[in-house]
């Protein structure tokens, strides 16, 4: 049994953006999959996830099916892997719209609506009958966004939405997500390892390390006054004249160090850090889990 994520708590309001930051293997994608109940069956989950007052972890598969895609939607890193290669993109969006159709909506209006949705994400109408392979990575990601927003979801989870894209395209996709978020008043959960994306998009930032939430704070505080030594080290990497990597490696989740998992790499680690994992404490309108955070 591997403990991949432990004692994670955060909340997210409509129209707000939360960025979950962390290195690969820190368990941030697992949190994303856990919310709509997409974890594999051998995963044991504990705790509660409240979505509009309902505890998602106690829902049956059937009622989760009604929430997925309609109220909670997801975007993944590799759009090509999520689009059907055999179906024109317009029809894929129409299919998504069909699945969230409300009673009283006419089926024959759906293609027109699909065209409008394509237009909304900045894809010209003549691309309606294009196949996914005919589009660039950025365009494919736009199609994914259009499909995800088909049911006007209350929560949109974007798992590394721009990691595979070029800089200029990344900018466009982030702008698009911001626009749509304001238009539909969607709550946005962005999972990323890119601090730039967090600075650009987030209202609050949550930092994960080895499956633990280390810091959860408003974005301004995170960049100006990070509380956790790990956040400081992350920000320091590219801030100086030369690169300053964090010494050591991310720990193996099967063989985590005792106490705070970050202590072997931490510059301000003390004797206490090797013994116990710190409880969360308030720090500058946010939460931080570090024995030394308040002494700074």
């Amino acid at each position: 049994m591997i403990n991949v994520a432990e004692a994670i708590s955060f909340d997210l309001e409509a129209g707000q953006t939360l960025c979950l930051l962390g290195e690969s293997g820190s368990g941030k994608s697992l949190i994303a999959l856990c919310i709509p109940g997409l974890l594999p069956h051998n995963a044991l989950t504990g705790g509660k996830i409240f979505f509009l007052g309902k505890n998602l972890l106690s829902q049956t598969e059937k009622s989760l099916g009604k929430i997925r895609g309609k109220e909670i939607a997801m975007i993944f890193e590799q759009p090509m892997g999520c689009l059907n290669p055999m179906m024109p993109i317009g029809r894929q969006i129409a299919e998504a719209l069909h699945s969230v159709k409300k009673v009283g909506e006419k089926s024959w209006e759906i293609p027109r609506e699909a065209r409008r949705r394509l237009d909304e994400v900045g894809i010209p109408g003549h691309c309606y009958s294009h196949y996914p392979h005919e589009l660039s990575g950025g365009m494919q990601q736009r199609v994914m966004i259009a499909m995800a927003l088909a049911g006007n979801p209350k929560l949109l989870i974007a798992d590394e939405p721009t990691t595979a894209l070029d800089l200029t395209v990344q900018r466009q996709i982030l702008d698009l997500l911001n626009d749509l978020k304001h238009r539909y008043n969607t709550a946005l959960l962005i999972i990323t390892h890119d601090l730039g994306v967090a600075a650009e998009m987030a209202d609050t930032v949550a930092v994960m390390y080895a499956g633990r939430l280390m810091e959860h704070t408003p974005v301004q505080n995170f960049f100006s006054r990070p509380g956790h030594p790990y956040s400081r080290a992350l920000l320091n990497i590219v801030s100086g004249k030369t690169l300053q990597p964090i010494p050591g490696n991310v720990p193996n989740l099967m063989d985590l160090p005792w106490g705070c998992p970050y202590h072997p790499r931490c510059e301000s680690a003390g004797a206490e850090c090797e013994k116990t994992f710190p409880a969360s404490s308030h720090f500058d309108h946010g939460m931080v889990r570090c024995h030394n955070a308040l002494c700074d």
Binding site: L195, S239, Q244
Partner: protein, 318 residues
């Protein structure tokens, strides 16, 4: 500084192999008349969006892809038309590190065997190989406990280290690093780049660093070029390009870099527009995305001109 590798008017045209009866055969110009040189102990950066031909340039320098036009000189020896046996001998002097470390390692070779193989081919005896490998492993940060593991048992950063170490073991004089750190976490990226930097300083390796990430360039390269649809748009010292980006495309790239200051997010202007397919009528390649475009830009190709010492830009509007 002696020049290690030099490219002169390098060009590459790809012709699709499939048979077309009614349409004329289309050809794709991936690289168009590119010239530069890299000195000993220097790192030259190549930045561009995906599909601009930067990897093709890297491969042509190593003669892994045949150039359609132009020539590459490695320490004065022209690589095009070099007999196979001579090219073979030069191969160990020049190396490439790929972005996808997973696919560039043999899944059925243990780390030690992967590292040993190039030395074996050079005819170095078993004990000597062991000494050399353990000496390098220390430098690169691969622990001895990893030697018997297979690539799938390593993390992304460790795999990339093995790839780099395999390249360094043969004491190359020229390395092409094709996005060596793109798929890694920032902290691991920094470790990998520092590793290349140290090797460059210690042994004076010439390095071609290919990336689509402008922000890392500042730390690794001394000179750099901005590439767009096969050609250089801006070329010069990294410092002068970062301090004073002149080409509208370079400015656009800098504008799309995500700032690390969240407060300023509301005020920034939106520059990026949808990338359009290339024009093929001899005009400026960047014309249809350019903010300064004048009618004649559509028909006349701009050439690199020196705007300030050591800083060349291909734009009519400067």
């Amino acid at each position: 500084m002696p020049c290690v590798i030099k490219a002169q008017n390098l060009g590459k045209v790809f012709r699709p192999g499939h048979f077309t009866l009614f349409k004329p055969k289309e050809s794709i110009t991936a690289v168009d008349r590119v010239s530069f040189s890299i000195a000993k102990g220097e790192c030259f950066g190549l930045v561009g969006e995906s599909g601009c031909g930067k990897s093709t340039v890297g491969r042509m320098l190593l003669n892994l892809v045949d150039a359609t036009s132009g020539s590459v000189y490695f320490k004065g020896i022209k690589l095009q038309g070099l007999p196979d046996d001579q090219m073979h001998r030069l191969r160990s002097k020049m190396h490439i590190i790929y972005q996808d470390a997973n696919n560039s390692l043999d899944p059925r070779y243990s780390v030690y065997r992967t590292l040993e193989e190039p030395l074996q081919l050079k005819g170095i005896s078993g004990p000597d190989r062991q000494v050399k490998i353990s000496e390098f492993a220390n430098k690169v940060g691969i622990g001895k406990e990893l030697f018997q593991r297979y690539p799938h048992e390593l993390s992304g950063g460790q795999r990339q280290r093995v790839g780099i170490m395999r390249a360094l073991l043969q004491d190359p004089e020229f390395i092409v690093a094709d996005e060596p750190a793109a798929s890694l976490d920032l902290s691991v990226q920094a470790q990998i780049l520092n590793l290349l930097e140290t090797d460059k300083k210690e042994r004076g390796t010439a390095l071609l660093y290919i990336s689509h990430n402008l922000s890392m360039m500042r730390f690794v390269s001394q000179r750099m070029a901005i590439m767009y649809l096969g050609g250089f748009l801006e070329f010069g010292s990294t410092k002068s390009i970062f301090e004073n980006p002149l080409h509208p495309y370079t400015q656009m790239l800098f504008a799309s870099l995500l700032d690390r200051v969240p407060q300023e997010r509301k005020e920034r202007k939106r520059t990026a527009s949808l990338p359009n397919p290339p024009l093929d009528n001899g005009g400026c390649a960047f014309y249809n995305r350019c903010t300064l475009g004048k009618p004649f830009c559509k028909h006349e190709t701009p050439w690199l001109r020196e705007i300030e010492p050591g800083h060349e830009v291909a734009c009519h509007n400067l």
